[in-house]
């Protein structure tokens, strides 16, 4: 079997965006062997971004989010069953139902889950939600449709902000509580986070920053929350949007480099063992991965980006069925989008990998701009607000490590284009929301133990 990479047994764990796209790509790459996809959710692969957008706005229902396939991956689907471990030596995936699946090559695409409210009793109150699965989306949409008096959103990251935006659009009162100085600050830095705060307030969000929620109250049903500044928010629905946790626990005994920031892999999506030795039969893709990127000092990136799951799945699939010299690196630039408060925010590169920013086009006042991020004199990221068409130009600057501040290029160059200001990216540990791009350094998550 080792002789013919296009044949044999491939198992994919995680039946969502990365898992599906990898399965399709394996067939496109000519894999004719047996393919099994294991997923613990009892559904065909579905799309998550609409959960905080169309589903809450009533434009789509949570049970119509299945991803359209690009081609039939001709796989066996083991859905509703968890993988509980991997035996790297025996080359088997262990399943919760006692079964085990042999593989020649394995792809891990187990993604992330919502970080729950730290107090389980409070988190279990009726009316308290997280938002990651279609069940979460259906439940929250139903509650919002019943027109609660007020919704409390804990965490001002992208998901929390989108939920708040949807609430305002539905005409519902909403409070956002964020521990950091402003919403989105962890992902976009100081300047744009101020715009985000203004947008929230202009749209009628009761935005509380620099506070933490200390307790959720209620007797069976959620009735309000206590804040660290001594105030109380009366609300009947609460959405906990505190970021994501990587689904790696099932690999704890596996010997793979799996830790809280994901599973470390090389640029070819091949997983590392806990000793930092690269495997050649275990691959990783999507939100659960952590991979080095040459444009960002070979720092290990952990992304929670739709586009990354798609791109990395394609590279992983290619490399699973091709010999070393024909393998490809995953070098795609991180790209992210978010729609909230009527604005289309898109980012390319790694905004948190920056020391300074300039507004290269547009202005904060116009609510239409392109902000360019630089690190040590070169362009590392760009964020556009309602200027998506400009993004390709900046993508090119990042890919070519162009000098920062960027040279004149855009026709409508802003007056502020030469005025570099600190990017003011805070330490993520002071925020309620995690950045959706994390630089995780070269440090392994687990200490080596002597063999």
């Amino acid at each position: 079997m080792a002789g013919d990479l296009k044949d044999g047994l491939i198992v994919i764990v995680g039946a969502s965006l990365a898992g599906l796209r990898a399965a399709e790509a394996l067939r496109e790459e000519g894999f004719t062997g047996s393919l099994t996809v294991v997923g613990d959710e009892p559904h065909a692969p579905y799309d998550r971004p609409p959960l905080s957008k169309q589903v809450l706005l009533g434009q789509a229902t949570a049970d119509t989010l299945e991803l359209p396939m690009r081609r039939d991956p001709d796989a066996e689907w083991r859905l509703g069953v968890r993988a509980t471990g991997v035996d790297l030596l025996a080359k088997r995936v262990l399943l919760a139902d006692g079964d085990s699946l042999p593989y020649d090559r394995l792809l891990i695409a187990t993604g992330t889950r919502a970080r729950p409210w730290p107090n389980p009793e409070e988190g279990a109150l009726d009316g308290v939600f997280t938002l990651r699965t279609r069940e979460d989306g259906a439940g929250l949409a139903e509650r919002l449709a019943a027109r609660p008096e007020r919704v409390l959103v804990i965490g001002g990251g992208f998901t929390g902000s989108e939920i708040a935006s949807a609430c305002r659009e539905l005409g519902l009162a909403v409070t956002v509580a964020e521990r950091g100085p402003a919403p989105l600050v962890g992902a976009l830095g100081g300047t744009l986070s101020k715009l985000a705060a203004v947008m929230q307030r202009n749209h009628g969000v009761d935005l509380r920053t620099g506070v933490t929620v200390t307790a959720l109250n209620g007797n069976g049903a959620f009735t309000g929350a206590q804040l660290s500044d001594g105030s109380r928010v009366e609300a009947d629905v609460c959405v906990v949007a505190l970021g994501a946790i990587r689904n790696v626990e099932w690999l704890a005994e596996s010997g793979l480099a799996a830790g809280p920031r994901g599973i470390a892999c090389d640029a070819g999506c091949r997983a590392f063992t806990m000793y930092g030795i690269v495997t050649d039969d275990v691959f990783v893709a999507g939100d659960v991965s952590r991979f080095p990127h040459p444009l960002f000092g070979y720092q290990m990136l952990s992304l929670e980006h739709w586009g990354n799951a798609v791109e990395q799945a394609a590279v992983a699939a290619h490399n699973m069925v091709n010999p070393g010299p024909l393998q490809r690196p995953h070098l795609a630039l991180p790209v992210f989008w978010s729609t909230q408060f009527g604005l289309n925010i898109k980012s390319v590169g790694v905004p948190t990998y920056s020391d300074h920013v300039v507004i290269a086009q547009g202005s904060l006042e116009a609510r239409r701009l392109a902000m360019v991020y630089g690190y040590q004199g070169r362009v590392t990221a760009a964020v556009t607000v309602d200027m998506a068409k400009a993004l390709d130009y900046y993508r090119h600057l990042i890919e070519t490590a162009a000098p920062f501040p960027p040279p004149p290029g855009a026709q409508d160059r802003a007056i502020a284009a030469d005025i570099a200001i600190p990017s003011a990216v805070p330490d993520p540990s002071v925020l309620s929301h995690g950045p959706t791009v994390a630089l995780t350094g070269h440090l392994p998550d687990r200490r080596l133990t002597v063999v």
Partner: protein, 72 residues
């Protein structure tokens, strides 16, 4: 016939809005350039969405069936 699904690769979409003109019941601009869309495509809209997918300048629209996961 199974109901069709659509997904838009919004990392690629540049808000050209061709899709909105061709299938306004499925695609909608939210603000200046934020695209929202219905994920379930009713039978009588399939042809329009197909045209929108063909017309999208960045090929961001995918129309298709959900994966058949067998026996469930």
């Amino acid at each position: 016939m199974v109901e069709m699904r659509t997904v838009v690769d919004l990392t690629r979409c540049q808000g050209y809005a061709q899709c909105v003109f061709l299938a306004p019941e499925v695609f909608e601009l939210h603000g200046e350039e934020g695209l929202l869309y219905a994920t379930a495509v009713p039978d009588d809209q399939v042809e329009r969405v197909r045209q929108a997918a063909a017309a999208c300048p960045v090929q961001a629209i995918l129309l298709g069936e959900e994966v058949s996961t067998g026996g469930r």
